[in-house]
Amino acid sequence: MTPPLDLSRRQFLTASSLAAGAALLAGCAPGSAIGDSTQTLQFWHLLSGGDGVTMSSLLDGVNGAQGAYRIRPTVLAWGTPYYTKLAMAGAGGRAPDVAIMHATRVNGWAPGGLLDDWDLDRLADLGVDKSTFPAPIWEKGFVGDRLFSVALDAHPFVMMFNTDVCDAAGVLDTDGRLRETSSPEEFVDQLRAVSGSAEGHALSYGYLGDGAQMWRLFYGLYAQHGLAMELPLGGKAVIDKDAAVESLTFMQSLLDGEIAAAQNDYGSAIAEFATGKSGMLFTGVWELRTMQNAGIPFDAAMIPTLYGTPAVYADSHSFVLPHQANADETKRELTYQFVADVLKGSFGWAEAGHIPAFLPVTESPEYAELIPQANYAEAAEHVVYDPSAWFTGSGSSVQEDFGAAVQGVLLSGDDPAAAIDRFEARVNTILTQPNPADPEGTWKP
């Protein structure tokens, strides 16, 4: 027998008292002191950074304005991890009461029974119906005849520019707006002028390790050719190779280390622009708050139309009802109320840079006075969503696949045509597969 590995009395006592102490501490954790009748609604979203701050204050406002319910938000990491967790929660039947999803992801999910649909009548009773949304945004929420998502906003991918730097470079017109450029060469000339007066680079564009960022810029440029990718299930992807390669090559040419840093990830691009070192930034409108807080003089505009057709890549944050095995009626009722309350109070969301989907807010006089939001409000008319398929949408793996296929082009100067071919091959493989949420097509819209 091996020599006894005895537990000394002292060790045992130390361990137990520590465990007891920990349990006591856990009991002292800050809990919520809410009234007995106040229902807590679990709300999941993936908004962090500038957006996260704004959403937090929006929720605080909603919580403070009434006592029937209290929203308890949880923020999960943007992208695949968020959607995976939400799907698993929906599959398990114990999902949060309400969640945010990108509008482009909904049509892939609905067939899996992971979402419950919205009751149009109940929404109408609360003042939320077709007339209160721009048509394309309202329609994007439908799968078949059923409404699965109610949009909060449209958030396009735009260009922000430092007015001081650009003014010094002489690229602003008399209104203080950026001079219009309508071809890649003109735009590059403008950028070179800016890089002369910028402390760092002319343009900040974060893309490293971020397939979504690469896709956003790419697809916007692609759509500017007047094209839309088609992804028919069971067929072949319809991609105009010339336009695609041209867009990708243009992106590659910007990352020469002079116009833009050769390798910037999302966070460092934001930081470069926010500290005033660069003249322009390609980003989503969701970073508006960050820039306002940074205190730099800036404005925003659509990314210039370089290939003929104005097009703005965008998506919408929308409210969805994750499937609940036994939905609590009271909580459901309160969830409807919550969504209506947030929509009506979404002016604050506009202040964060997004274009609210709720028309009563965007048609108000206060909204017209918001600068720089008013300067890109026209983007809402040229919105381009992801091509419709079960595997596309913000944070989808196909955006990551795109990133994997083309990062070499942007980072190491690989061949753009080969990268587009790789991406096309990948997409074609996926198209041969059924929607795994409903592999036998049994769901009826």
Partner: protein, 319 residues
């Protein structure tokens, strides 16, 4: 060696101290049934859990691998060997398998060599034993999430310590975790830091079991410390090295935690391990049936390696 007799006079079998044989006293026939019942009572809790949470999932998993079951509850019809066929021709599956093997190769060498170096140094009996043990072994007790977050911070391309060091040395900063050329290497570095302490302890124990008389005799013969290490220490570390290698390889093949976490849940084609692909196929892409098929292909690989390991051990024992 002991023998004893029970009061009833029935003899008991002897036991040899230290062997794994157990003694089962012979007894009168009538109490046999009672003995059976009691045995099953003792075994029941474990067996129930074993059947429910190990045996049943294995069997059911095999069944699932022949269906197109979806995470959402849809699907579930029989599809024959389609999943297996797809798995074996799936380039991502093979890429993941290769990534896992590559990770194993990359990490095993440092995990053995560095552990050996650490143990050799600590074995010299230099002062501060508790400090060395703590430094080398403490990371092993950290949760995978903790080490992943620490190393993601260190590998941050703009403000991380790793690139700070590179810049201080006048070298180009690297996109450690974002660049497919370096991301697997980064995971290996973090893994080595995390788990070398385990191998270190195994080597240390083996070294400390070498009788000091051997060293004394050698030094009397005029052998210096290097010579002693080469001729006495190293050769006797054979069994420990084999053990460490086997443990290392089997553990590395199951790579998931840190590879998933350090890439923020989004796999690069160069870091996706086979377990991560199993996870993605099932939970990200909802294809339970397909994921089960990949699991069993992986399982087969593990069994083959495990059996090979057993044969190797037996061969060594016979030598």
């Amino acid at each position: 060696m002991t023998t004893s007799a029970t009061a009833s006079g029935a003899a008991t079998r002897t036991i040899v101290t230290g062997s794994a044989a157990s003694a089962v006293p012979a007894r009168r026939a009538g109490s046999r049934n009672r003995e059976q019942l009691i045995s099953w009572a003792f075994l029941a809790p474990f067996l129930i859990a074993f059947a429910l949470f190990l045996v049943w999932p294995i069997v059911h998993g095999i069944y699932l691998s022949f269906t197109d079951q979806s995470l959402t509850g849809a699907g579930g019809s029989f599809v024959g060997f389609a999943n297996y066929g797809e798995a074996l021709t799936d380039p991502v599956m093979w890429q993941s398998m290769w990534n896992t093997v590559w990770f194993t190769l990359l990490s095993t060498v440092p995990l053995v060599v560095i552990a050996l170096l650490m143990a050799a140094l600590v074995d010299r009996g230099l002062p501060g034993q508790w400090l060395w043990r703590l430094s080398f072994f403490m990371p092993y007790l950290l949760a995978s999430t903790v080490i992943s977050q620490i190393w993601v911070w260190i590998f941050n391309p703009q403000i991380g310590a790793a690139n700070n060091i590179l810049k201080a040395l006048g070298l180009e900063p690297l996109a450690w975790l974002q660049n497919p050329d370096t991301n697997m290497l980064s995971i290996v570095i973090a893994t080595v830091w995390w788990t070398v302490g385990f191998n270190f302890l195994l080597y240390l124990a083996a070294m400390q079991n070498i009788p000091p008389q051997q060293y004394e005799a050698a030094s009397l013969d005029g052998a210096g410390p290097w010579r002693q290490f080469w001729s006495i220490t190293l050769p006797q570390l054979g069994p420990a090295t084999v053990l460490i290698l086997i443990l290392q390889i089997l553990a590395s093949l199951k790579l998931f935690d840190q590879a998933y976490q350090m890439l923020g849940g989004v796999a690069s084609d160069t870091t996706r391990s086979i377990v991560q692909y199993i996870y993605e196929a099932g939970f990200v892409n909802y294809r339970f049936g397909y994921s089960a098929a990949i699991s069993y292909v992986f399982f087969a690989l593990i069994v083959i390696i495990g059996v090979a390991q057993a044969l190797v051990s037996r061969r060594r024992k016979e030598l």
